[in-house]
Protein backbone atom coordinates (compact mmCIF):
# COMPACT_ATOMS: atom_id res chain seq x y z
CA UNK A 1 0.00 0.00 0.00
CA UNK A 2 2.61 2.45 0.98
CA UNK A 3 4.86 1.43 -1.86
CA UNK A 4 3.22 4.20 -3.82
CA UNK A 5 4.90 6.73 -1.61
CA UNK A 6 8.01 8.24 -2.87
CA UNK A 7 11.53 7.92 -1.80
CA UNK A 8 12.36 10.78 0.41
CA UNK A 9 15.84 12.16 0.40
CA UNK A 10 15.45 14.52 3.28
CA UNK A 11 18.51 14.85 5.45
CA UNK A 12 18.24 12.70 8.48
CA UNK A 13 18.13 14.26 11.86
CA UNK A 14 20.52 11.66 13.14
CA UNK A 15 23.22 11.77 10.53
CA UNK A 16 25.86 12.38 13.12
CA UNK A 17 26.21 8.64 13.41
CA UNK A 18 28.96 7.24 11.30
CA UNK A 19 27.85 3.99 9.77
CA UNK A 20 31.08 2.90 8.14
CA UNK A 21 32.93 2.74 11.39
CA UNK A 22 30.16 1.04 13.19
CA UNK A 23 30.87 -2.44 14.44
CA UNK A 24 28.82 -2.10 17.57
CA UNK A 25 26.52 -4.89 18.72
CA UNK A 26 23.58 -2.60 18.05
CA UNK A 27 24.67 -2.30 14.48
CA UNK A 28 24.92 -6.04 14.07
CA UNK A 29 21.29 -6.19 15.14
CA UNK A 30 20.43 -3.69 12.43
CA UNK A 31 22.29 -5.85 9.91
CA UNK A 32 20.38 -8.89 11.05
CA UNK A 33 17.11 -7.08 10.68
CA UNK A 34 18.08 -6.03 7.18
CA UNK A 35 19.05 -9.58 6.26
CA UNK A 36 15.72 -10.75 7.57
CA UNK A 37 13.99 -8.23 5.39
CA UNK A 38 15.92 -9.51 2.39
CA UNK A 39 14.91 -13.08 3.14
CA UNK A 40 11.32 -11.91 3.52
CA UNK A 41 11.35 -10.51 0.02
CA UNK A 42 12.66 -13.83 -1.26
CA UNK A 43 9.99 -15.77 0.59
CA UNK A 44 7.28 -13.52 -0.80
CA UNK A 45 8.44 -14.08 -4.32
CA UNK A 46 9.09 -17.77 -3.91
CA UNK A 47 5.69 -18.21 -2.40
CA UNK A 48 3.99 -16.37 -5.22
CA UNK A 49 5.79 -18.64 -7.68
CA UNK A 50 4.62 -21.73 -5.85
CA UNK A 51 1.09 -20.49 -5.57
CA UNK A 52 0.95 -19.70 -9.25
CA UNK A 53 0.46 -16.02 -8.60
CA UNK A 54 3.83 -14.98 -9.89
CA UNK A 55 3.40 -16.19 -13.41
CA UNK A 56 0.05 -14.47 -13.57
CA UNK A 57 0.88 -11.20 -11.87
CA UNK A 58 4.56 -10.52 -12.03
CA UNK A 59 5.68 -11.57 -15.44
CA UNK A 60 4.93 -8.25 -17.01
CA UNK A 61 4.48 -8.23 -20.69
CA UNK A 62 7.13 -5.83 -21.79
CA UNK A 63 5.69 -5.63 -25.26
CA UNK A 64 2.40 -4.41 -23.87
CA UNK A 65 4.01 -1.96 -21.51
CA UNK A 66 6.14 -0.58 -24.31
CA UNK A 67 3.10 0.94 -25.93
CA UNK A 68 2.36 2.93 -22.80
CA UNK A 69 5.70 4.62 -22.55
CA UNK A 70 5.74 8.31 -21.82
CA UNK A 71 6.65 10.42 -24.85
CA UNK A 72 8.94 13.35 -24.26
CA UNK A 73 8.95 15.41 -27.41
CA UNK A 74 8.31 19.06 -28.05
CA UNK A 75 4.92 19.62 -29.51
CA UNK A 76 3.60 16.27 -28.36
CA UNK A 77 1.96 15.40 -25.11
CA UNK A 78 2.98 12.40 -22.99
CA UNK A 79 0.81 10.20 -25.17
CA UNK A 80 2.65 11.30 -28.29
CA UNK A 81 -0.28 13.24 -29.62
CA UNK A 82 -0.54 16.71 -31.05
CA UNK A 83 -3.17 18.99 -29.52
CA UNK A 84 -6.60 17.69 -30.22
CA UNK A 85 -8.36 19.36 -33.09
CA UNK A 86 -11.46 17.31 -33.13
CA UNK A 87 -14.31 18.68 -31.12
CA UNK A 88 -15.43 16.32 -28.42
CA UNK A 89 -19.14 15.90 -28.08
CA UNK A 90 -21.21 15.03 -25.10
CA UNK A 91 -24.81 14.49 -24.23
CA UNK A 92 -26.32 16.57 -21.49
CA UNK A 93 -27.47 14.17 -18.77
CA UNK A 94 -30.24 16.57 -17.97
CA UNK A 95 -31.89 17.26 -21.33
CA UNK A 96 -30.22 14.57 -23.46
CA UNK A 97 -29.18 17.11 -26.03
CA UNK A 98 -25.99 16.56 -27.91
CA UNK A 99 -23.44 19.34 -27.91
CA UNK A 100 -19.80 20.27 -28.18
CA UNK A 101 -18.05 19.48 -24.90
CA UNK A 102 -16.66 22.96 -24.53
CA UNK A 103 -20.16 24.33 -24.48
CA UNK A 104 -21.35 21.92 -21.88
CA UNK A 105 -20.72 23.95 -18.72
CA UNK A 106 -22.57 27.06 -19.91
CA UNK A 107 -25.33 24.90 -21.23
CA UNK A 108 -25.64 22.87 -18.07
CA UNK A 109 -25.88 25.91 -15.93
CA UNK A 110 -28.91 27.04 -17.85
CA UNK A 111 -30.27 23.56 -18.24
CA UNK A 112 -30.26 23.01 -14.50
CA UNK A 113 -31.69 26.45 -14.01
CA UNK A 114 -29.24 27.28 -11.32
CA UNK A 115 -26.22 29.30 -10.59
CA UNK A 116 -25.34 32.61 -9.22
CA UNK A 117 -24.58 33.53 -12.73
CA UNK A 118 -26.34 36.69 -13.61
CA UNK A 119 -24.98 38.87 -10.87
CA UNK A 120 -21.55 37.35 -11.18
CA UNK A 121 -21.53 37.74 -14.88
CA UNK A 122 -22.37 41.37 -14.52
CA UNK A 123 -19.76 42.00 -11.91
CA UNK A 124 -17.11 40.18 -13.82
CA UNK A 125 -17.88 42.09 -16.93
CA UNK A 126 -17.47 45.35 -15.11
CA UNK A 127 -14.37 44.20 -13.33
CA UNK A 128 -12.80 43.00 -16.52
CA UNK A 129 -13.56 46.25 -18.21
CA UNK A 130 -11.86 48.09 -15.44
CA UNK A 131 -8.84 45.93 -15.82
CA UNK A 132 -8.49 46.63 -19.48
CA UNK A 133 -8.69 50.33 -18.87
CA UNK A 134 -5.74 50.01 -16.61
CA UNK A 135 -3.74 49.13 -19.61
CA UNK A 136 -2.80 45.68 -18.58
CA UNK A 137 -2.22 43.97 -21.87
CA UNK A 138 -1.00 40.77 -20.40
CA UNK A 139 -4.38 39.28 -20.32
CA UNK A 140 -4.82 37.98 -23.77
CA UNK A 141 -4.02 34.59 -22.46
CA UNK A 142 -7.25 34.56 -20.61
CA UNK A 143 -9.11 34.63 -23.81
CA UNK A 144 -6.93 31.96 -25.19
CA UNK A 145 -6.67 29.66 -22.26
CA UNK A 146 -10.10 29.38 -20.97
CA UNK A 147 -12.10 29.44 -24.05
CA UNK A 148 -12.07 26.80 -26.61
CA UNK A 149 -12.88 27.12 -30.18
CA UNK A 150 -16.10 25.68 -31.25
CA UNK A 151 -15.72 24.79 -34.85
CA UNK A 152 -19.00 23.21 -35.67
CA UNK A 153 -21.64 25.62 -34.73
CA UNK A 154 -24.51 24.88 -36.92
CA UNK A 155 -26.97 27.64 -37.30
CA UNK A 156 -29.80 25.17 -37.23
CA UNK A 157 -28.89 23.87 -33.81
CA UNK A 158 -28.40 27.22 -32.37
CA UNK A 159 -31.69 28.76 -33.27
CA UNK A 160 -33.43 26.95 -30.52
CA UNK A 161 -31.41 28.61 -27.86
CA UNK A 162 -32.41 31.48 -25.77
CA UNK A 163 -30.91 34.48 -27.41
CA UNK A 164 -30.78 36.55 -24.29
CA UNK A 165 -27.78 34.80 -22.86
CA UNK A 166 -25.91 33.86 -25.89
CA UNK A 167 -23.36 36.62 -26.44
CA UNK A 168 -21.09 35.49 -23.70
CA UNK A 169 -20.83 32.14 -25.29
CA UNK A 170 -18.86 33.37 -28.19
CA UNK A 171 -15.60 31.55 -28.04
CA UNK A 172 -12.16 32.58 -28.97
CA UNK A 173 -10.08 30.31 -31.08
CA UNK A 174 -7.83 28.33 -28.88
CA UNK A 175 -4.11 28.62 -29.28
CA UNK A 176 -3.94 29.51 -32.87
CA UNK A 177 -0.78 31.42 -32.56
CA UNK A 178 -2.32 34.50 -31.08
CA UNK A 179 -0.65 36.71 -28.58
CA UNK A 180 -0.70 35.26 -25.15
CA UNK A 181 1.16 32.45 -23.52
CA UNK A 182 1.91 29.61 -25.83
CA UNK A 183 1.93 26.22 -24.30
CA UNK A 184 5.36 25.20 -23.26
CA UNK A 185 6.74 22.62 -25.56
CA UNK A 186 4.23 23.40 -28.20
CA UNK A 187 5.83 25.20 -31.06
CA UNK A 188 3.49 27.49 -32.84
CA UNK A 189 4.15 25.70 -36.09
CA UNK A 190 1.97 22.91 -34.87
CA UNK A 191 -0.92 25.26 -34.72
CA UNK A 192 -0.46 27.56 -37.59
CA UNK A 193 -3.05 27.15 -40.22
CA UNK A 194 -4.86 24.53 -38.27
CA UNK A 195 -7.93 26.42 -37.46
CA UNK A 196 -10.23 27.38 -40.23
CA UNK A 197 -10.24 31.00 -41.17
CA UNK A 198 -13.81 30.67 -42.24
CA UNK A 199 -16.32 31.76 -39.67
CA UNK A 200 -13.65 33.71 -37.86
CA UNK A 201 -14.67 37.27 -37.48
CA UNK A 202 -12.57 40.34 -37.91
CA UNK A 203 -10.88 41.97 -35.01
CA UNK A 204 -11.07 45.71 -34.76
CA UNK A 205 -7.44 45.88 -35.68
CA UNK A 206 -8.31 44.24 -38.91
CA UNK A 207 -11.42 46.24 -39.47
CA UNK A 208 -9.98 49.63 -38.80
CA UNK A 209 -7.75 49.98 -41.86
CA UNK A 210 -10.57 49.09 -44.24
CA UNK A 211 -12.01 51.78 -46.41
CA UNK A 212 -15.37 53.20 -45.64
CA UNK A 213 -17.02 51.37 -48.51
CA UNK A 214 -15.50 48.11 -47.47
CA UNK A 215 -16.70 48.64 -43.95
CA UNK A 216 -20.16 49.36 -45.16
CA UNK A 217 -20.13 46.36 -47.42
CA UNK A 218 -19.02 44.13 -44.63
CA UNK A 219 -21.62 45.39 -42.28
CA UNK A 220 -24.28 45.08 -44.91
CA UNK A 221 -23.52 41.40 -45.13
CA UNK A 222 -22.88 40.47 -41.58
CA UNK A 223 -24.17 40.93 -38.10
CA UNK A 224 -20.95 42.61 -36.99
CA UNK A 225 -21.56 42.69 -33.26
CA UNK A 226 -18.24 42.53 -31.46
CA UNK A 227 -17.79 39.56 -29.24
CA UNK A 228 -16.97 39.92 -25.61
CA UNK A 229 -14.29 37.30 -25.57
CA UNK A 230 -12.80 37.18 -28.98
CA UNK A 231 -13.00 40.87 -29.75
CA UNK A 232 -14.07 39.79 -33.19
CA UNK A 233 -17.01 40.83 -35.21
CA UNK A 234 -19.79 38.36 -35.66
CA UNK A 235 -19.73 37.01 -39.19
CA UNK A 236 -23.25 35.74 -39.33
CA UNK A 237 -26.11 37.28 -41.14
CA UNK A 238 -28.28 40.07 -39.89
CA UNK A 239 -30.66 37.48 -38.69
CA UNK A 240 -28.04 35.99 -36.45
CA UNK A 241 -29.91 34.81 -33.40
CA UNK A 242 -27.02 35.34 -31.09
CA UNK A 243 -27.17 39.08 -31.19
CA UNK A 244 -30.03 41.48 -31.02
CA UNK A 245 -30.98 44.20 -33.45
CA UNK A 246 -30.12 46.73 -30.77
CA UNK A 247 -26.63 45.38 -30.62
CA UNK A 248 -26.29 45.51 -34.38
CA UNK A 249 -27.50 49.09 -34.36
CA UNK A 250 -25.06 50.11 -31.67
CA UNK A 251 -22.10 48.65 -33.43
CA UNK A 252 -23.00 50.42 -36.63
CA UNK A 253 -23.53 53.63 -34.77
CA UNK A 254 -20.01 53.35 -33.53
CA UNK A 255 -18.28 52.14 -36.64
CA UNK A 256 -20.13 53.95 -39.38
CA UNK A 257 -21.75 56.81 -37.60
CA UNK A 258 -25.23 55.66 -38.54
CA UNK A 259 -27.24 52.68 -37.59
CA UNK A 260 -29.01 51.46 -40.61
CA UNK A 261 -29.18 47.74 -40.75
CA UNK A 262 -29.62 46.69 -44.30
CA UNK A 263 -31.56 43.59 -44.97
CA UNK A 264 -29.39 40.77 -46.26
CA UNK A 265 -30.98 40.79 -49.69
CA UNK A 266 -29.44 38.42 -52.18
CA UNK A 267 -26.75 37.48 -49.79
CA UNK A 268 -28.11 34.21 -48.72
CA UNK A 269 -26.91 30.92 -49.93
CA UNK A 270 -29.41 28.36 -51.03
CA UNK A 271 -29.28 26.72 -47.64
CA UNK A 272 -30.16 29.95 -45.94
CA UNK A 273 -26.82 30.57 -44.29
CA UNK A 274 -25.11 33.83 -44.79
CA UNK A 275 -22.27 34.36 -47.16
CA UNK A 276 -19.02 34.23 -45.37
CA UNK A 277 -16.95 37.34 -45.84
CA UNK A 278 -13.92 35.55 -44.56
CA UNK A 279 -13.38 34.00 -47.90
CA UNK A 280 -12.20 37.39 -49.00
CA UNK A 281 -10.10 38.60 -46.10
CA UNK A 282 -7.46 36.70 -44.23
CA UNK A 283 -8.23 37.55 -40.70
CA UNK A 284 -5.46 35.80 -38.94
CA UNK A 285 -2.72 37.91 -40.38
CA UNK A 286 -4.01 40.92 -38.53
CA UNK A 287 -4.22 39.39 -35.15
CA UNK A 288 -1.16 40.71 -33.47
CA UNK A 289 -1.80 44.28 -34.28
CA UNK A 290 -1.46 47.01 -31.75
CA UNK A 291 -4.83 48.66 -31.87
CA UNK A 292 -5.29 47.76 -28.25
CA UNK A 293 -6.96 50.96 -27.21
CA UNK A 294 -9.56 50.75 -29.91
CA UNK A 295 -10.06 47.15 -29.20
CA UNK A 296 -10.56 47.83 -25.54
CA UNK A 297 -13.09 50.47 -26.26
CA UNK A 298 -14.90 48.15 -28.56
CA UNK A 299 -14.76 45.35 -26.08
CA UNK A 300 -16.24 47.57 -23.53
CA UNK A 301 -18.86 48.66 -25.95
CA UNK A 302 -19.91 45.17 -26.74
CA UNK A 303 -20.00 44.22 -23.09
CA UNK A 304 -22.04 47.14 -22.15
CA UNK A 305 -24.42 46.19 -24.85
CA UNK A 306 -24.58 42.63 -23.78
CA UNK A 307 -25.26 43.49 -20.24
CA UNK A 308 -28.12 45.54 -21.55
CA UNK A 309 -29.50 42.49 -23.12
CA UNK A 310 -28.70 39.67 -20.83
CA UNK A 311 -28.74 41.06 -17.36
CA UNK A 312 -31.11 43.93 -17.71
CA UNK A 313 -28.56 46.31 -16.29
CA UNK A 314 -29.63 49.87 -16.56
CA UNK A 315 -26.65 51.03 -18.57
CA UNK A 316 -27.92 53.53 -21.02
CA UNK A 317 -26.34 53.66 -24.45
CA UNK A 318 -25.13 57.10 -23.48
CA UNK A 319 -22.66 55.47 -21.14
CA UNK A 320 -20.75 53.75 -23.91
CA UNK A 321 -17.10 54.34 -23.62
CA UNK A 322 -17.47 56.39 -20.53
CA UNK A 323 -14.54 55.32 -18.46
CA UNK A 324 -15.39 56.97 -15.14
CA UNK A 325 -18.82 55.43 -15.08
CA UNK A 326 -17.46 52.00 -15.68
CA UNK A 327 -14.99 52.36 -12.88
CA UNK A 328 -17.59 53.46 -10.46
CA UNK A 329 -19.74 50.52 -11.30
CA UNK A 330 -16.91 48.17 -10.82
CA UNK A 331 -16.27 49.32 -7.32
CA UNK A 332 -19.85 48.93 -6.41
CA UNK A 333 -19.98 45.41 -7.70
CA UNK A 334 -16.66 44.35 -6.35
CA UNK A 335 -18.04 44.17 -2.87
CA UNK A 336 -20.47 41.47 -3.79
CA UNK A 337 -17.92 39.55 -5.67
CA UNK A 338 -16.05 37.25 -3.40
CA UNK A 339 -14.85 34.74 -5.87
CA UNK A 340 -12.41 33.42 -6.59
CA UNK A 341 -11.28 33.63 -3.06
Amino acid sequence: MSSVLDNGSSPSEVDSLDLDEDSSPEFSIVSELIDEAIVSVCFDIHRSIKRGVYSVLEQSDEKIMKQFEVVECDGLDVFGQVPLKKQVECICPSCQRNMAANRFAPHLEKCLGMGRNSSRLASRRLATTGKLIDGDDDDDNYFDDDWTWNSDRKPGKKNKRDRGNSPRRAKAPRKNGEAGTPRPGTPSSVHSGELPATRTGLTMTAFEPLGNEEKKALLSQTCGVISEHTARMCTRSHRCPQHSDEQRQSVRLLLLGYAEVEPPVGRLRPDGSSLEPDDVIDVDSYEDGDGQALRDTLNRLSWEEESNVSTGDDNSPAAFGSVPLVKKKRKKKAKHKRRPR
Binding site: S2, G8, E32, I38, I49
Partner: protein
Protein backbone atom coordinates in the same frame (compact mmCIF):
# COMPACT_ATOMS: atom_id res chain seq x y z
CA UNK B 1 39.21 -12.72 19.25
CA UNK B 2 38.09 -12.19 22.79
CA UNK B 3 36.64 -8.86 21.75
CA UNK B 4 34.62 -10.50 19.08
CA UNK B 5 33.16 -13.12 21.33
CA UNK B 6 32.28 -10.41 23.77
CA UNK B 7 30.58 -8.48 21.01
CA UNK B 8 28.55 -11.42 19.86
CA UNK B 9 27.53 -12.14 23.43
CA UNK B 10 26.54 -8.52 23.79
CA UNK B 11 24.42 -8.53 20.67
CA UNK B 12 22.88 -11.81 21.79
CA UNK B 13 21.80 -10.22 25.02
CA UNK B 14 20.52 -7.13 23.23
CA UNK B 15 18.60 -9.39 20.90
CA UNK B 16 17.14 -11.17 23.87
CA UNK B 17 15.91 -7.90 25.34
CA UNK B 18 14.42 -6.84 22.07
CA UNK B 19 12.60 -10.14 21.61
CA UNK B 20 11.35 -10.22 25.16
CA UNK B 21 9.88 -6.77 25.04
CA UNK B 22 8.38 -7.20 21.61
CA UNK B 23 10.46 -4.30 20.43
CA UNK B 24 12.12 -6.49 17.85
CA UNK B 25 8.79 -7.12 16.14
CA UNK B 26 8.08 -3.40 16.12
CA UNK B 27 11.49 -2.63 14.66
CA UNK B 28 10.99 -5.29 12.05
CA UNK B 29 7.68 -3.85 11.04
CA UNK B 30 9.06 -0.36 10.96
CA UNK B 31 12.00 -1.39 8.83
CA UNK B 32 9.70 -3.24 6.51
CA UNK B 33 7.54 -0.20 5.89
CA UNK B 34 10.48 2.16 5.56
CA UNK B 35 12.10 -0.12 3.02
CA UNK B 36 8.90 -0.28 1.02
CA UNK B 37 8.53 3.45 1.24
CA UNK B 38 11.99 4.18 -0.12
CA UNK B 39 11.57 1.86 -3.06
CA UNK B 40 14.03 -0.70 -1.75
CA UNK B 41 11.56 -3.53 -1.91
CA UNK B 42 10.58 -2.77 -5.49
CA UNK B 43 14.20 -2.66 -6.57
CA UNK B 44 14.91 -5.92 -4.85
CA UNK B 45 11.89 -7.56 -6.38
CA UNK B 46 12.96 -6.58 -9.84
CA UNK B 47 16.37 -7.99 -9.09
CA UNK B 48 14.69 -11.23 -8.07
CA UNK B 49 12.82 -11.26 -11.35
CA UNK B 50 16.11 -11.15 -13.20
CA UNK B 51 17.37 -14.10 -11.18
CA UNK B 52 14.18 -16.00 -11.89
CA UNK B 53 14.53 -15.35 -15.60
CA UNK B 54 17.99 -16.88 -15.49
CA UNK B 55 17.20 -19.86 -13.33
CA UNK B 56 13.80 -20.68 -14.62
CA UNK B 57 10.54 -20.25 -12.77
CA UNK B 58 10.23 -23.82 -11.61
CA UNK B 59 13.72 -24.39 -10.36
CA UNK B 60 14.42 -21.35 -8.29
CA UNK B 61 14.58 -21.80 -4.51
CA UNK B 62 14.51 -19.36 -1.66
CA UNK B 63 18.16 -20.10 -1.03
CA UNK B 64 19.03 -19.23 -4.62
CA UNK B 65 17.24 -15.94 -4.33
CA UNK B 66 18.74 -15.10 -0.97
CA UNK B 67 22.23 -15.87 -2.21
CA UNK B 68 21.76 -13.77 -5.32
CA UNK B 69 20.17 -10.68 -3.87
CA UNK B 70 21.68 -10.36 -0.41
CA UNK B 71 24.64 -8.21 -1.50
CA UNK B 72 22.39 -5.87 -3.47
CA UNK B 73 19.82 -5.86 -0.72
CA UNK B 74 22.34 -4.83 1.89
CA UNK B 75 23.89 -2.18 -0.28
CA UNK B 76 20.63 -0.60 -1.26
CA UNK B 77 19.36 0.17 2.24
CA UNK B 78 19.56 3.96 2.63
CA UNK B 79 21.93 5.12 5.34
CA UNK B 80 19.14 7.22 6.71
CA UNK B 81 17.13 4.10 7.40
CA UNK B 82 20.07 2.34 9.03
CA UNK B 83 20.77 5.33 11.25
CA UNK B 84 17.17 5.57 12.24
CA UNK B 85 17.09 1.90 13.21
CA UNK B 86 20.33 2.22 15.12
CA UNK B 87 19.11 5.22 17.00
CA UNK B 88 15.89 3.49 17.88
CA UNK B 89 17.74 0.49 19.26
CA UNK B 90 20.00 2.75 21.32
CA UNK B 91 17.07 4.77 22.57
CA UNK B 92 15.34 1.55 23.54
CA UNK B 93 18.39 0.26 25.37
CA UNK B 94 18.89 3.52 27.18
CA UNK B 95 15.33 3.41 28.39
CA UNK B 96 15.47 -0.27 29.39
CA UNK B 97 18.60 -0.72 31.42
Amino acid sequence: MVERIKDSQLSASINQKLVESGERERLKELLRSRLIECGWRDKLRSHCKEVIKQKGLENVTVDDLVAEITPTGRALVPDEVKRDMLLRIRTFLAANT
